[in-house]
């Protein structure tokens, strides 16, 4: 337990120390919120769907969590390159504890980043339907964070080259974001797109947040179903991450 905590704390400390990273990683979500949110707002409204900012805020929060969690995998590559990974690999502790500590650290950083964006959406005009739903929404944010931080650990344990990792991330992160219905509704999609969105774990995260934050009827699948899917995918990805991590050779 102490080991998990120490490695978790390490990730969080490093995050809090890198102000530049904090500010810079707000850029992407802010751009989407600003450009799409205000740009497409009138169209959305004319289509009779209400406020686009209101609709899109959960998607942008999901995006921030996705990006931060996925890029937490980079820490694996840094540690491999600059050696700290070896220090943990020869320590007399189970690999699983190391993997869990790192993954939870990455997930926590993603939740912190998601919280910042949440505050920003409030400033931009987002109004959650009820204050009581906000803590529950954070549960979903945490689930999304764990799902993608575990996926990042699995990828980071497998790929050794920085360039390779960046490529894989670009090929994964953007599709996961665009196929998640973060910026469009799930109703009435073409069949292929509808099928793809259902394969994307982020879809359920964003859908669940909408259900909680925007109010009744705005979750396409229902919040309970969303949570169930995220939990299962989370277990699957953590297992995959643990398996890949256990096979690292120095």
């Amino acid at each position: 337990m102490a080991v998990v905590f120490a490695l978790w704390l390490r990730e969080v400390k490093k995050y809090l120390r890198s102000r530049v990273q904090i500010v810079a990683s707000l850029g992407g979500p802010l751009m989407y919120l600003g450009v799409l949110g205000f740009g497409l707002g009138p169209v959305f409204q004319r289509a009779g769907e209400g406020s686009y900012i209101q609709f899109m805020a959960p998607g942008v929060i999901g995006m921030a969590v996705l990006f931060t969690a996925m890029f937490s995998g980079i820490a694996m590559l840094w540690d491999r390159q600059f050696g700290f990974l070896k220090e943990t690999l020869v320590a007399p502790v189970p690999r699983l504890a190391i993997m869990i500590g790192r993954t939870l650290g990455g997930a926590t950083v993603a939740v912190l980043q998601g919280t910042l964006i949440f505050v920003v959406t409030l400033v931009a005009g987002f109004r959650p339907a009820s204050v009581l739903a906000v803590p529950l929404a954070f549960l979903l944010i945490a689930l999304i964070a764990v799902v993608f931080a575990a996926l990042a650990t699995a990828i980071g344990s497998t790929i050794k080259e920085m360039q390779g990792f960046q490529m894989v991330m670009n090929f994964l992160v953007m599709p996961i974001f665009f196929l998640s219905a973060a910026i469009y509704p799930l109703q009435g999609l073409p069949r292929v797109l509808a099928a793809l969105t259902r394969l994307d774990p982020l879809t359920y995260g964003v859908d669940g947040m909408r259900g909680l934050l925007i109010g009744r009827g705005s979750a396409h699948f229902g919040v309970a179903f969303d949570v169930a899917v995220l939990l299962s995918v989370g277990v699957l990805f953590v297992a995959a991450g643990a398996w890949r991590f256990s096979r690292i050779e120095a």
Partner: protein, 266 residues
Amino acid sequence: MSDRPIIRVQHVVKSFGTVMAVNDVSFDVRPGEIFAFLGPNGAGKTTTIKMLTTLLRPTTGSLELDGLDVTTHQRDVRTRFGVVFQDPSLDSELTAWENMDIHGVLYHVPRHPRRERCEVLLRMFELWDRRDDLVKTFSGGMKRRLEIARGLLHTPKVLFLDEPTLGLDPQSRNQMWTHVRNLRATEGVTVFLTTHYMDEADRVADRIAVIDHGRLVATGSSAELKDQTGADSLEAAFLALTGTTIRDESATAADQMRQVARVWRR
């Protein structure tokens, strides 16, 4: 002092595909001695250290540390040694103290003794005043000292040092060896080290093993090796044992590519 060797390596073979990195190597290290492992580039030094530190499994043969089989008792063996790898393994975004502290947690050193021991070691290695500075602001010599201090935190029986003075200036090298020799007096730890610098091995090691092409070619004290080869310096003895051809670790085209890739990844 007991006669049981602290490290016992018997007929160890490690092959990577068709390459025999270590080929039927056997040797013993006695408790409390400073044992130097010498060899040209690519001779199998680091591979041997990686096997002894549980990072690689031998293809065949057995390795024992403090009477425990290294491959079957990984966890117990890991608590018994400290290691300073060839490449640095500190977290440069953390402070010296935090690096020490995390190590203590990883090795289950309880909080109170951990703090005391961190302080003792940081003072011993003259890093106490810089304990709250980020490691990325440290010089090469300071980083090495911190790594050794960290490797000793859990009071290991054996300390592995893989080329600890590589890339250090003569002052830092000198200081490093003074520290290593003091360690035996203060900590009673067995030191297993590799180095390229013959004069250093000559000065600091009780016994020396020379490895070449994955095979052990000689073992003994510096004086014994000189006698054996009729050379007047350890360097001459080393050259007599291993020949004067320059070793190229990157022998094949594929190896060379890997070498280039490694540089780019830095």
